[in-house]
């Protein structure tokens, strides 16, 4: 597979010698563009470490990662392919957090437009792109609102819009439905599926949420740093 997310033999070891801990052990994953997969596992299983490696926030110990058809890390060839991990995160990876973590002093439009602006796009273009995304996520009527004026569901939709702002091939969602009730949680998953399909983005959703796990067609279980792939129920939530 060329596009989407492709992980081969990814390992991460913390510490050295007797105190070393292997947080990830030979993890393999493959997610196609437009696909949304679940990553589930108990606390301490390595979910967050995997997300940090994929998010180019920490360096894996070994393995190979391809995002959107481009190798971003290969331990056999010296590690990261680009020295500017900040630009890599900005341009090729979208992040959705457990709490929306919107910037409180920017209005909804500028929260979304900030990423294209950071990438060097003109303010007007960035805002146009932000308004398109807000419309796609049905929160365009809150475009001028401050984050504190939004409901939890609206905030999460804005954070999804922000993650899509630079049209990244990959979105990493860390417990995106944790603070939401069932109805809103399912609505968020529905939106993620729509966006993945519409923008051909590969999305990994790290979750504990029993409400949304049945909606995934594929699930990666992670335990003691190893992943096991299995088919999900793929319950229809449209």
């Amino acid at each position: 597979m060329d596009d989407g997310i492709h992980i081969e033999g990814l390992s991460k070891r913390y510490g050295e010698g007797d105190t070393a801990v292997d947080a990830l052990k030979e993890v393999n994953m493959c997610i196609a563009p437009g696909e949304v997969v679940g990553l589930v596992g108990p606390s301490g299983s390595g979910k967050t470490t995997l997300l940090k490696c994929l998010g180019a926030v920490i360096e894996p110990t070994r393995g190979r990662m391809t995002l959107g058809g481009e190798v971003i890390y290969d331990s056999a060839q010296g590690g990261w392919k680009t020295p500017d991990l900040r630009a890599l995160r900005r341009d090729r990876i979208g992040f959705i957090f457990q709490a929306p973590y919107l910037i409180p002093f920017l209005d909804v439009t500028d929260n979304v437009a900030l990423l294209p602006m950071l990438a060097g796009r003109a303010n007007a273009d960035s805002r146009t792109r932000a308004l398109e995304l807000l419309q796609a996520l049905d929160v365009q009527h809150r475009a001028k609102a401050q984050p504190s004026e939004l409901s939890g569901g609206e905030q999460q939709r804005v954070s999804i819009a922000r993650a899509l702002a630079n049209q990244p091939p990959v979105i990493l969602a860390d417990e995106p439905t944790a603070p939401l009730d069932s109805e809103r949680a399912l609505a968020v998953v529905r939106i993620l599926n729509q966006m993945a399909s519409q923008y051909q983005t590969a999305i990994i959703v790290v979750t504990h949420d029993e409400k949304i796990i049945p909606t995934f067609k594929r699930i990666y279980h992670i335990r003691d740093g190893r992943t096991v792939e299995e088919a999900g129920e793929g319950r229809d939530i449209s």
Binding site: V57, F95, F97, P104, F105, D110, L115
Partner: protein, 397 residues
């Protein structure tokens, strides 16, 4: 790119303004301290200018009438008038004392002068000049005395016939001008009880009360009662002569100390208020350090309150320099608000100070630069903390 700092300030403007007001009051106090020093210097210069003299002739080996006690005979001026280059010469006395007005007292410097001669107040803001030889006074408005009021100096009452402004001593005490003869009496004459006691002592002294020398006792008693001393003679130099040359001649031939305007300014500013200047300088240094510490603490606390947002900003690709710029701009914004509040505060409360406070534009500009530099330096602590934030902390709850 939008201004993150500007948006943050607009978002929490109340917090910024309140913090800025607090900082501004501190900056206002700093500006006022500088103004107090400038006021002292200006008072000294105005004192010299308003005296209308080019040379101050005082007792030998003294620093002049404003810095030290000086006593010279009141006929010295006649000899000075005969010297080449001297256009005018007049006696003056200076005495700092409490002047009573009803049940109220004012700390003033009482000046004795001769009308129409150097030492007379240069201008009046109300009333008239002294026309009578005794018991009239001109007062600085800072004394609080009104035209027509009667004030008590030692044993006599004086009617306030004129008011003047910015006539204060080097210590900031407002001046009251009275005729020279009255001032000499107020300064040098003893009270009645002391005079009687002195006369009795003289009468019992066999050397001064010899049986075979009639009139000796009366002559001695008269010389003790009448005083012919003044504190200084103010000299105006004629056209074509320099004060330095005339002062040199006076020192040479009259065995008196003579100071030119520049020398008196040196005594007043460099010597008389030197300790006060150092004191104010210390206060200014402390206030600057305190202001810097407060700005550093505020900006650091505000940054710590945004750690999660900073982690998110870093994770989504914001450059370190953008984050550092945001914090720096906020610190400078806070400094600017503080400076504006401080300048306005100092301007508003300066007139209420008992001593003259001179707020110079150049000082304000210097203060603005110092405030900005201090704020920039103070923000480095917060910038350091922000740059240390690990973007990974945004992931994983």
């Amino acid at each position: 790119m939008i201004s993150l700092a500007g948006r943050d300030i607009l978002h929490s403007w109340g917090k910024f303004v309140l913090t800025g007001i607090g900082l501004g009051l501190l900056i206002g106090a700093t500006l006022t301290m500088a103004g107090v020093y400038r006021g002292m210097v200006d008072d000294a210069r105005v004192l010299l200018t308003n005296s209308g003299a080019d040379i101050w002739v005082v007792q030998k080996d003294t620093q002049g009438p404003y810095a030290e006690s000086s006593s010279i005979r009141d006929d010295v001026y006649r000899g000075l008038l005969g010297m080449s280059g001297v256009a005018q010469a007049a006696n003056v006395t200076y005495l700092t004392m409490q002047v009573r007005h009803g049940f109220r007292e004012s700390r003033t410097m009482v000046v004795g002068f001769e009308p129409g001669q150097p030492g007379e107040p240069g201008y009046l803001v109300a009333g008239r000049r002294l026309l009578r030889g005794h018991f009239e006074a001109i007062a600085d408005v800072k004394t609080g005395f009104k035209l027509g009021e009667r004030i008590r100096i030692r044993r006599h009452e004086y009617k306030v016939v004129g008011l003047t402004r910015r006539m204060v001593s080097s210590g900031g005490d407002p001046m009251v001008f009275i005729p020279l003869k009255d001032a000499q009496e107020a300064q040098f004459l003893k009270d009645n009880d002391a005079i009687i006691a002195d006369r009795a002592r003289t009468a019992t002294n066999p050397a001064l009360n010899r049986p075979g020398v009639p009139g000796l006792l009366d002559a001695v008693t008269a010389s003790q009662t009448i005083n012919h001393s003044v504190n200084a003679v103010l000299v105006k130099v004629g056209a074509g002569d320099t004060a330095a040359n005339v002062a040199q001649e006076i020192r040479r031939w009259k065995h008196l100390q003579a100071y030119t305007r520049e020398q008196m300014e040196e005594i007043l500013i460099a010597k008389l208020i030197a300790t006060s200047a150092k004191q104010i300088g210390m206060f200014l240094a402390i206030l600057t350090v305190v202001s810097a510490a407060i700005v550093a603490f505020i900006i650091y606390t505000m940054t710590l309150g945004k750690i999660r947002e900073i982690a998110v900003l870093k994770l989504i690709g914001t450059r370190n320099r953008t984050i550092a710029g945001m914090i720096l701009q906020q610190a400078l914004g806070l400094g600017l608000i503080g400076f504006i509040v401080g300048k306005i505060s100092a301007t508003l409360w300066a007139p209420a100070f008992p001593k003259y406070v001179l707020l110079e534009t150049a000082d304000a500009m210097r203060a603005l630069v110092i405030v900005m530099v201090v704020c920039a330096l103070a923000s480095t602590l917060a910038i350091r903390a922000a740059l240390k934030v690990d973007p990974a902390t945004a992931i994983g709850g």
